[in-house]
Each structure stands twice: as structure tokens, then as C-alpha cells.
């Protein structure tokens, strides 16, 4: 026993303080990188435009992207397990259509909103069952979910449905002021709450830790006696529920539902999650990172607006950033693999 101790404490003693911090927080590096990019963008824009960063602008970034933030939180769960959920944009659109149609028929929003969430959860469950029990690739399973939801949206209506329900519009229309231009809407509060709950789930519950374990090594997780099937299923349910909630928020945001809403949103969501430092291979990443990723996305959109150039540049910039991040992630993974 003594020999064991000497060898291993020797190893421990060699580790200095900054090294120890890095050894303990290596998985946060990509998040720090995303924060760095965000800060660089803000500083750059501030220098270029002279007057860029105002409380108004920061507030509006949260307002304009709360639906994306909610989707990104759900997507983080799925990507952490090593999967992907392509259905979220379509589910958001479909639940929006369904909700708007039910509201038009006179149902109260207190019934409609939970129904929208439940519908999202149900579609997520379906995708999860396909992935877990029928061994379908997550890409294909969620693609099926995407087509289904998109099609169902068209079944509800081919045209835009206006929403006049007061509580729903209140979510977006209320601006809680906090002086000198700061404001926040209930949609923004909901989105931040979702971030908080998502981060809490992942960091402080067995379900959350099992999500990481499954993404790290599914076979190991199973042999460690962890509930792998239930966890993967739940991850897709979380993502679906978030998509349903995003449906509510997006409906409030636009004041109407339209079956062509949210096309390509799933890709924006994935981009935000990846920029926020979550590894597409699973097992490493944070909800907080995804939030930073969404803010980076929103900031790019705003800067492009300020520049007055075509919005297609948003996509090009996002594409370039995504490429950069994926390459950087590969390098980090390759380096740690070599060090082992």
C-alpha cells in the first residue's frame, strides 16, 4: 500500500496552482473562448461605430433571441448525449400554429400554452423512442420528426393566423423598465429561467450527470449501472418541451403563427450551441455556453444591421465562426488525446 501512495502523491505534488485550475476546468475552455469572441465583437463594434453598446441594445438582443435561447438549452441536452435534434424549428412552428388555431377557437391561453408544451414533449418523446428503442440515427429520427411537424403545421393552416389573446401578447408587449434604457420582457425572463433550470438540471441532478456520462461513453454508462435508456429519452423530451415553449414565445414575439416560421432555426440553434463550446461528439459542454453562443449569434445580427449591409452576411459570419469553432474543438480534442 505504501508504494501506491508514494507513486501517486508524487504525481499530485508536481501539479502547480494554475495547472491545477486548468486540470480541473479544462472543459470550460471552449466557453471561455466563446466569451472572448463575444467581448472582442463588442469592443470592435464599439471602436468602429463610436457609440454602439447601449442598455437598449443589450436588452433588445435578449428580447429578439429569447426563443432561440430556449431552443438552445434543449438542444444542449441532446447534443451532450451525443445526439442531435433537427426537429426543433419545425416543432416550434407547428406548436405555434396549433396554439394560434386553438386560441382562435376561443380556448383560454391557460389551456393552450400547456398543450403546446405537451405537444412538443410528445414529439420529442417520439424522436427519443426511435433513437433509443429502434436504434435509428438521431439525425434521421429527428429529421422524421421535423418533416412530421412541418407537415402538421400546414395541415392546421396554409396561411398566417393572427393572435389576439391578451395574456400571450402580454408576454412580449410588457417592458419592465429598469432605468437608463434597460428593460426586460416576460419572454426574456422565461428564457433566462429556462437557462437557469437547464444549468441546474445538468450540474446538480443525477439525470444531468448521466447525460454527460452517456455522451462520454454510452457503453460505460450502461456497465456502470446508470439508467441510459431513460436518460436519452428524457433528453429528447427536454428538447421537445423547449421547442413547444419556444413556440409560445415565438408566437408572442411575432403576434401571429405562420407555417413557414422557423425554417432553418434548428441549424441556427445547433450553431449557437456549438459556438458556445458544446462538443458535437457529446459529453462536454454547458448550458451557459449555449447562452453565450446565442448572444454571439444575436450580436452578429445586430452588427450586420448597424453596418447596413445585407442580412445574408449574418449567415456567412455565423458559418465562418462555426467553422473556426469546430476546428478549434478538433484541435483541443486531438491535443488531449495525444497527451494521454
Amino acid at each position: 500500500m505504501t508504494s501506491t501512495q508514494t507513486v501517486l502523491t508524487g504525481e499530485l505534488r508536481a501539479v502547480t496552482r494554475p495547472h491545477r485550475f486548468m486540470a480541473r476546468h479544462a472543459s470550460w475552455i471552449p466557453v471561455f473562448a466563446a466569451v472572448g469572441i463575444l467581448v472582442a465583437m463588442v469592443v470592435g463594434a464599439q471602436l468602429y461605430f463610436g457609440k454602439f453598446l447601449t442598455p437598449r441594445l443589450v436588452s433588445s438582443i435578449l428580447l429578439d433571441n429569447s426563443y432561440l435561447l430556449i431552443l438552445a438549452v434543449g438542444m444542449t441536452f441532446v447534443i451532450l448525449t451525443g445526439g442531435i435534434d433537427l426537429s426543433v424549428g419545425a416543432v416550434m412552428s407547428f406548436t405555434g400554429m396549433m396554439g394560434a388555431s386553438l386560441l382562435r377557437q376561443g380556448l383560454p391561453s391557460s389551456v393552450v400554452a400547456p398543450t403546446m408544451l405537451a405537444t412538443g414533449a410528445l414529439i420529442g418523446l417520439g424522436v427519443g423512442v426511435l433513437v433509443q428503442y429502434f436504434d435509428v440515427q438521431p439525425f434521421i429520427a429527428s429529421l422524421a420528426g421535423m418533416f412530421l411537424a412541418r407537415g402538421l403545421g400546414f395541415v392546421v393552416s396554409l396561411n398566417s393566423i393572427k393572435v389576439t389573446d391578451r395574456p400571450i401578447l402580454w408576454l412580449q408587449g410588457t417592458r419592465l423598465q429598469a432605468g437608463s434604457g434597460w428593460y426586460i420582457t416576460p419572454t426574456g425572463i422565461i428564457a433566462l429561467l429556462v437557462v437557469l433550470v437547464g444549468a441546474g438540471l445538468l450540474a446538480y441532478t443525477r439525470f444531468g450527470r448521466t447525460v454527460y456520462a452517456v455522451g462520454g461513453n454510452e457503453q460505460s454508462a450502461r456497465l456502470m449501472g446508470l439508467p441510459v435508456a431513460r436518460t436519452k429519452l428524457l433528453a429528447y423530451v427536454v428538447s421537445g418541451t423547449c421547442a413547444g415553449l419556444a413556440g409560445v414565445i415565438f408566437t408572442a414575439y411575432t403576434g401571429a403563427a405562420y407555417p413557414l416560421n422557423g425554417i432553418g432555426t434548428e441549424l441556427d440553434t445547433i450553431a449557437a450551441v456549438v459556438i458556445g463550446g458544446t462538443l458535437l461528439t457529446g459529453g462536454s459542454g454547458f448550458v451557459v455556453g449555449s447562452m453565450i453562443g446565442v448572444f454571439v449569434y444575436g450580436m452578429i445580427k445586430t452588427i450586420i444591421n448597424f453596418l447596413g449591409v445585407d442580412q445574408s452576411w449574418t449567415r456567412i459570419t455565423i458559418g465562418a465562426l462555426l467553422l473556426l469553432f469546430v476546428v478549434v474543438q478538433r484541435l483541443i480534442v486531438a491535443r488531449s488525446a495525444r497527451r494521454r
Binding site: 505504501t2 450540474a203 456520462a213
Partner: protein, 513 residues
């Protein structure tokens, strides 16, 4: 020699009786008994394919038994999964560490058993508990560092700590030592002895006979899915154990001993000559010559640069200094493809990740090598069949069916298929990186004698192995590596295991020691 039934069950922690497991077409286990007592280290021995893994998987709940009973601590159990077995107090540490490298050490120990307060995980308390469990095994680690940043040996000990969190009464160690070096094995043994003294029953599966005799108290031997017997280790000798496992005596192992004394003609051009070839960060520039019909061994500790040297020689790593000559001419070896084109075949260390294609059949795996050499030109069906059946017979691949998926073969037979793959390309130089790791005595002897036979016929071989006995027995010359550097070369006829160990440990280090 074996005890009566009554004696066996009285103080047994685990009593498996009449275990039978049927796979499509095969009876993997046929009426096998296994008895484990608290406070003993029990070795489970047998060739690959004897049914060891199947028996373990029955005990750990991965496989359901078709007949027979399992009792743990006197209670009859039916396991429906690994979680059930863990509940009953049976924990397992697998050969490939089955933990999550992306999570922290502490989490890996505690996952599923985290300390919770008011519904949320109390990380401080969880890590404190993890530190306690690790210290019980004499490990002092920063539990907040990622598991992946530690060596395999430490990971293995962490896996054992995890097993002890569930207060396992029975600990199954499935080939825990196959990727550890000598010092690390001793650490593991210290932990095993400690567990034994605390009344845990340890089931130890290994291919290293000397380790069985060093640490275990009893030994159960399986052969072809049947029980051979349960013996106190004192009543066995290594030779007796091997013949129990093989069901035959040992003369074919002895026949090899002459290989290293065979004279090699080193007057002509070497088949391959490395001249100061190296790669920054991987291996320092080294000179290595391999002559026709010669077996050059590479010895050194795990991580000493043995594999890296082989990879540079094979073109799997691009040398950034020096040059490599094949048959006297300098060649470019930037990719494995270049190596294959020059007749250099490389069978990598990690056969599961870099060697076999599990979802292809034995025949397809064999033909792959020759197909790679031919490029787009088709390998005729009749030629394929002839090759495949020739090598299955020549190497004794079992089952002798070219159409089974290779992942269903035992490790030793997979290794033989890989050997066949490269031999089919008629290489000038064959590089074998740990070809006998984790395979049984019988297959090991088959592979060793094949290598000796081929080199006698003029094939040049580079042979890498952690087992110094094996390197000494097969090769005429041994290149010794340490810390990513070639530290010297020895003629096998002039040294023995102790001499080699001494060389690895001390050569060029006199000043420091």
C-alpha cells in the same frame, strides 16, 4: 482434489451451479460451477473461447443464463442487467476501463451514488466521499480533475474504487493487468491484497500465469465451455495449469527456444534501414536495420516509444528527420499506403480500434490487405477463397468458417486473422505491435511459432511486446527504447530477461542513479 458440494457451498459468497448458456449454434457454457469465498483471490483460467468472459457476464448480469443457478451470499438471484448484479454486491472492472473519461475522477467514483441534499447534488460532500473511497485503496488524487488526464493504471484503480462504493462483496477483475507495466501491476496487487484482507471475494481473470501464481489463492479452470476443475493454487505448477487449460502437454511451446540463436546473414543490404529517422514530439531520430530473415525485437516499457518507432517505420507517422531506405533505396513513407506499396505491413497495437473491422467477416478482413495493395484492381473470387482457406488452415483460425463476423471471434483468433491479412500481401517486412497481448497461451504459441517459421523462410519481422521472454525467444536482435529514444541494441543470445530489464532500467543512466 475438488471439494465436495457441501464444503463448497457452506461459506461461499458466490455459488454458481450448473451454468449453461447457449448462443445460436454454440453452447458457450455447459454445466459450469464457480464458487467464490470471502477473503480469497480466485483466478479464472482458460484459453480464449473457453467461456471465461461468458461466465463473467453471467455473474455480472449482462447475459441471462439458460440453465443453472446463481446464489450470492446464500440468496438465489436472477440478474436482469448489470444494475441488478451491482445491487446484489457484484461489481466488475473490465479490461478496457469502462468509465467516462470526460467526467472528473470524483464523479466517476460516485456516479449514481452522489451525495444529495434537498434534491440536488452536494458536490463538496460528493468529492469528499470520493476522496475517502480512493484513500481506502491508497490513492491520493485531485478528484476534480478529468479522469481522461490520468494513466490507464490510475483509471483502473479508480474503477475499483467505484466498485467499492457500492460496497461490493464480490469484485470481478477482467484482465486488469493487460495494459499495465510492472510497477503498476504491483500497485494493483497491493490493492487486491488489501481487499482480500477485508473479506472481499476477488475474481481475477488474466493471461499472465506468473501473476496467477503470485496473487491468487484458488483457481477455476475452464476448457471449451466446460469446467475442468477448482484447485487450490498450491497444488498446481505453471506447467500443470497450462496443460489443464490446453488439455494437452507443452512440447510445442518448448520447440521455439532455438529461434533466437539462428544465425542471420547481415552482409547484404538490409530490407529496411532507418537512418536517423524520427519525428518531433514522438520519437527521437534513431537508426534501425532489419536484414532478410531477421526478427528484430523492440523492448521497452509501455510508452517508451516502441509503438512510435514502429509507426514511423511503417509510414503511419511521417518522419520529419532522417531517412528510411527500403532495399537500399531511400523512399518516401508519409502514409501507411506508402508503407504497403514498399512491402511493409504493420499490424497495430490496438487490434480492436486499428486492426479488425468487426462488422466484416473473417474472409473479408483477410482479403482487405491484399485489396489495399492492388488498389482498384479486383481480387478474383477464386483467388480470395483460395487465400482465405489457406490462411485459416495455416494459422489454425477457429472457428474455421470464413463467413462469421470477426467481432465474434476471440482475441487470439482475431489476431491470427490480422496476421493472415498482412501475410497475404506477401510483405518484405512485417511489423507486429503487441500481437500476443491479451490472448491465451495456445494462440500465443501458434503465433510465436508462425513468426519463427516465417522468418526462417526469409521474412523480416519487427516484433514488439511487453513480454520480454517472448521478445528474447523470438528475435535475434533487440532494440531497446526508453523515453522515446533508442538507448541501445542487444543480441538475444548474449542476454536474458534480467539482463534486458537491467539494460532498460540503467543503460546510459549510471550518472543519474
Amino acid at each position: 482434489m475438488s471439494l465436495t458440494d457441501e464444503e463448497m457451498t457452506s461459506d461461499a459468497l458466490v455459488a454458481m451451479r450448473g451454468i449453461t448458456i447457449q448462443f445460436p449454434g454454440v453452447k458457450a457454457l455447459d454445466d459450469v460451477d464457480l464458487t467464490l469465498r470471502g477473503g480469497e483471490i480466485h483466478a479464472l483460467m482458460g484459453e480464449n473461447g473457453a467461456g471465461k468472459s461468458t461466465l463473467i457476464k453471467a455473474l455480472t448480469g449482462e447475459y441471462a443464463v439458460d440453465a443453472g443457478s446463481i446464489a450470492v451470499a446464500g440468496e438465489q438471484r436472477v440478474f436482469h442487467g448489470t444494475a441488478d448484479a451491482q445491487q446484489a454486491g457484484v461489481s466488475t472492472v473490465y479490461q478496457e476501463v469502462n468509465l467516462c473519461a470526460n467526467l472528473s475522477v470524483g464523479e466517476n467514483v460516485m456516479l449514481g451514488h452522489e451525495v444529495r441534499r434537498a434534491g440536488r447534488i452536494d458536490w463538496r460532500a460528493t468529492h469528499r466521499a470520493a476522496v475517502g473511497h480512493l484513500q481506502n485503496l491508497g490513492l491520493r488524487l485531485d478528484t476534480r480533475t478529468a479522469l481522461g488526464s490520468h494513466s490507464i493504471a490510475v483509471q483502473q484503480l479508480v474503477a475499483i474504487s467505484r466498485a467499492m462504493v457500492t460496497e461490493a462483496k464480490v469484485l470481478v477483475l477482467d484482465e486488469p493487468t493487460s495494459s499495465l507495466d510492472r510497477g503498476e501491476v504491483q500497485q494493483l496487487f497491493a490493492v487486491m491484497r488489501d481487499l482480500r484482507s477485508r473479506g472481499v471475494a476477488v475474481l481475477f481473470v488474466t493471461h499472465f500465469l506468473d501473476q496467477v501464481f503470485e496473487i491468487s489463492d484458488r483457481c477455476t479452470v475452464l476448457r471449451n465451455g466446460r469446467l475442468v476443475g477448482d484447485y487450490p493454487i498450491d497444488e498446481l505448477s505453471p506447467g500443470r495449469l497450462v496443460s489443464l487449460m490446453l488439455g494437452r502437454e507443452l512440447e510445442d511451446l518448448a520447440a521455439l527456444s532455438g529461434a533466437s540463436d539462428r544465425p542471420v546473414d547481415r552482409s547484404g543490404t538490409p530490407v529496411v534501414r532507418m537512418k536517423g529517422a524520427g519525428r518531433k514530439g514522438l520519437i527521437e531520430p534513431a537508426d534501425v536495420d532489419v536484414y532478410p530473415g531477421e526478427v528484430v525485437g523492440i523492448a521497452g516499457l509501455l510508452g517508451s516509444g516502441r509503438t512510435e518507432l514502429a509507426r514511423v517505420l511503417a509510414g503511419a507517422e511521417h518522419a520529419d528527420s532522417g531517412q528510411i531506405e527500403v532495399a537500399g533505396k531511400a523512399v518516401r513513407l508519409n502514409t501507411p499506403r506508402h508503407g504497403i506499396d514498399h512491402g511493409i505491413a504493420y499490424s497495430p497495437e490496438d487490434r480492436r480500434a486499428e486492426g479488425i473491422l468487426g462488422d466484416l467477416t473473417v474472409a473479408e478482413n483477410i482479403v482487405l490487405g491484399i485489396q489495399a495493395r492492388r488498389g482498384w484492381r479486383k481480387v478474383r473470387r477464386s483467388e480470395q477463397d483460395a487465400l482465405v482457406s489457406e490462411y485459416i488452415a495455416a494459422l489454425g483460425i477457429r472457428p474455421a468458417n470464413p463467413h462469421v463476423l470477426i467481432r465474434n471471434l476471440s482475441g487470439g483468433n482475431q489476431q491470427k486473422v490480422l496476421l493472415a491479412r498482412w501475410l497475404a500481401t506477401a510483405p518484405a517486412l512485417l511489423i507486429l505491435d503487441e500481437p500476443t497481448r491479451g490472448i491465451d497461451v495456445g494462440a500465443k504459441a501458434d503465433i510465436q511459432s508462425k513468426v519463427a517459421e516465417l522468418s526462417e523462410q526469409g521474412l523480416s519481422v519487427v516484433f514488439i511486446s511487453s513480454e520480454l521472454e517472448e521478445v528474447l525467444r523470438l528475435s535475434q536482435r533487440i532494440v531497446v527504447m526508453r523515453e522515446h529514444r533508442k538507448i541501445g541494441e542487444l543480441a538475444s543470445s548474449e542476454t536474458d530477461v534480467d539482463g534486458l530489464i537491467d539494460f532498460i532500467a540503467h543503460e546510459g543512466r549510471e550518472g543519474a542513479a
